[in-house]
């Protein structure tokens, strides 16, 4: 299963990708912002993990555009962000995010959220 990992921090991309590899997902593609993510997204991507605060196109903007595309309408989107006030979480939800992880996160939390969305990703 291919994961698209979107974050402007190279450190965070590496941490997420290493966490994915640790739980058995080795097929990953990465992007530094929403625009790059849109360019790299195709039907082979089955799961998206995105940050919120990024240059050029934020995670919520990216998710909205993704949801408007036929090939991105149903792909699970997991947001991993430092933003954690109620309004932000609701905004992310409205943008089409399926679940939400607050930074700094533990590998267990990442695994739980991915596991919960896997049936949708596999569909």
């Amino acid at each position: 299963m291919k994961f698209l990992v979107v974050d402007d921090s190279a450190t965070m991309r590496r941490i997420v990708i290493n966490s994915l590899q640790r739980i058995g997902f080795n097929d990953t593609v990465e992007a530094g912002d929403g625009q790059e993510a849109l360019a790299k997204f195709d039907s082979s991507v089955k799961f998206v993990i995105t940050d919120w605060n990024m240059p050029n196109m934020t995670g919520t903007e990216f998710t909205k555009v993704l949801r408007s595309r036929d090939d991105g309408r149903h792909v699970p989107v997991l947001m991993v962000t430092a933003r954690s006030v109620k309004e932000d979480i609701l905004t992310a939800m409205e943008a089409g995010v399926n679940n939400y992880i607050v930074k700094p996160f533990t590998p267990q939390v990442l695994k739980e959220k991915i596991d919960a969305l896997l049936p949708a990703a596999a569909a």
Binding site: A82, N98, P104
Partner: protein
């Protein structure tokens, strides 16, 4: 005091200063007229002076209010910035200590593996177990590096506050010397301000579990969009 109130006070003061400037111009013109035409009555002079006096009093009042507003907002923002920088220091130290602790534990595990290897009949089961623990420790070290992303957002926020303060001070200086408006160093500073889309002003390494719990509660209470 809110930013908007400070800004209003600031603009009112600017307007008042311009009025005074106009009044002083009129006063100067009046004085010139007096000097040119000796026949002009001096009876108007007290009136002109009283008007100028009133304007100056009004300006002083506005300037006092502006000073208080700027002092208040500046103090609040600088205090927040100071707190953020303190948190960066604290988060960096916490991460460094966590990583050093993990290094110590990893080093002990390597020693234990050496002991197992040196034994006449090495306990392979124990060695496998220790290697798994070693991997966990290494992974934990990587996770601790998440502080870098969060502290970089905190520093971006602190930097944006400093640029804002500098801009505000430059605006005030510009009231007295308009040539500063095109000051190249100020333009460079503003252009180099962090993009506000790239950071969260509230980013923190603290209370991650509580904040995750809040997110989980919201996603449970409000039905998340179906994937």
């Amino acid at each position: 005091m809110s930013d908007s109130r400070a800004q209003t006070a600031y603009y009112e003061s600017e307007a008042a200063l311009r009025l005074v400037d106009k009044e002083l111009d009129q006063l100067r013109d009046g004085a010139e007229a007096v000097s040119r035409f000796v026949t002009v009555s001096l009876a108007d002079l007290p009136l002109i002076l009283e008007r100028a006096n009133n304007q100056i009093r009004a300006v002083l009042s506005h300037l006092r209010e502006t000073r208080q507003a700027l002092q208040s907002t500046t103090f609040e923002k600088l205090q927040t910035t100071h707190d953020k920088i303190k948190e960066v220091t604290s988060a960096t130290e916490d991460a460094a200590i966590n990583i050093m602790d993990a290094c110590d534990r990893a080093s002990q595990i390597v020693d234990e593996l050496d002991t197992i290897d040196a034994a006449e009949t090495p306990d392979r089961g124990k060695a496998t177990e220790l290697r798994a623990t070693l991997r966990d420790e290494l992974f934990m070290m990587m996770g601790a590096l998440q502080f870098q992303d969060i502290t970089s957002q905190q520093l971006a926020h602190a930097s944006s506050v400093l640029v804002e303060m500098e801009t505000r001070l430059a605006d005030i200086a510009n009231l007295f010397d308009s040539s500063l408006a095109t000051d190249p160093p100020l333009a460079t500073l503003q252009a180099g301000a962090p993009d506000e889309r790239t950071y969260d002003p509230n980013a923190t390494t603290r209370n991650a579990e509580q904040r995750q719990h809040l997110a989980d509660e919201i996603f449970t209470a409000v039905k998340a969009p179906a994937a």
